[in-house]
């Protein structure tokens, strides 16, 4: 029988096997980026910025030019690249520790300047790479290696919601929070990602897609349980949806 390939590994990623743990959603997000870059014809003109976190090696995975940034500074690195190469498609790939903790000033100011870049923000409510410490996004009660009795509001406050916060920054053009816990949501996430890159292509300014992601290893759950936990625990606190779309305001 004749066959037609309807799904295959994207050319947007290299052949290198991913270094993520089994079932970690970093991999799904990588694939989406690769697919969108290929489908939009942007791969050859893109520069991806790997941040410090489990995705530090993503410079080996994206099938385009890459730079590896210091922890938290990917938006600054992106600024340097984009300003000197306005025609390149520049995107950062950042974890929640990277973006919401040490790199908070850099992300807010990239948005503030209306930097014409795309940010992929992978929120897994934990520091994956360093072994599961508390992140600003860790949920109340969540046990991590530095909140061994569960995150306590009195001591460490309530989790930061980055999309909501950035929505108040005038320079931010497009902000959406998505999830990849099932095919339906993966499709939606891809749509959002497409839009984010379109914003950049159209020189409409700063775009960020926040992905609800998992960390089976440091959450201490199976991959599927992790997806369920993301749905049951994370999404209620981090509602999915569009947080800002300033593309209409622009001309």
């Amino acid at each position: 029988m004749k066959t037609e390939t309807i799904y295959q590994p994207t050319k947007g990623l290299t052949e290198r096997q991913l270094t993520y743990c089994p079932g970690c959603t970093h991999g799904i997000i990588h694939k989406l980026i690769g697919e969108v870059l290929v489908e939009k014809g942007l791969l050859d003109t893109s520069v991806g910025i790997a941040s410090v976190g489990c995705s530090v090696m993503s410079y080996e995975f994206f099938n385009c030019d890459t730079q590896q940034a210091a922890h938290g500074r990917a938006p600054a690195v992106a600024t340097g690249i984009k300003r000197t190469n306005p025609d390149a498609t520049v995107f950062t790939y950042q974890g929640d520790g990277d973006l919401a903790s040490i790199g908070l000033a850099e992300i807010v100011h990239a948005a503030h300047r209306g930097e014409n870049i795309t940010v992929i923000f992978v929120n897994n409510a934990i520091y994956g790479m360093t072994g599961g410490q508390m992140a600003p996004t860790t949920l109340i009660g969540q046990k991590t290696t530095t909140s061994p009795r569960g995150r306590d509001q009195g001591d460490t406050g309530l989790p930061l919601r980055m999309s909501e916060m950035l929505a108040t920054v005038p320079g931010a053009t497009y902000l959406e929070r998505v999830s990849v816990h099932d095919p339906k949501h993966i499709r939606k996430a891809k749509k959002a990602l497409e839009k984010a890159f379109d914003v950049q292509t159209n020189k409409q300014g700063f775009s960020m897609i926040e992905f609800i992601s998992t960390c089976p290893v440091n959450w201490g759950m199976t991959p599927q349980d992790s997806l369920n936990w993301a749905v049951d625990q994370m999404i209620p606190y981090y509602p999915l949806g569009l947080y800002k779309d300033g593309t209409k305001e622009e001309n």
Binding site: K2, T3, I6, Q8, G23, P183, L227
Partner: protein, 74 residues
């Protein structure tokens, strides 16, 4: 009859089972009888005839293990 089939790049598989849970027709399973190069129990298809080529398994697979083909009537 099968609408299509999946091709598994076994040595890339990490045995995470995410695909297993997504398959609407429940034909996926990990092959616990073996381990691949990396030491993981890889994915296998139980009842290929049932595949509806929905691509769900492939979409959720973080490690680009699965290729999906649809059978095309000639």
């Amino acid at each position: 009859m099968a609408k299509g089939r999946i091709i598994i790049d076994q040595d890339r598989c990490k045995g995470c089972a995410l695909c297993v849970y997504q398959c609407p027709v429940h034909i996926l399973e990990l092959d616990t009888s073996t381990t691949n190069q990396k030491g993981y129990t890889p994915l296998m298809v139980n009842d290929p005839e049932k595949c509806i080529a929905c691509s769900f398994c492939a979409m959720i697979c973080p490690d680009s293990v699965i290729t999906v083909e649809r059978f095309v009537k000639e």
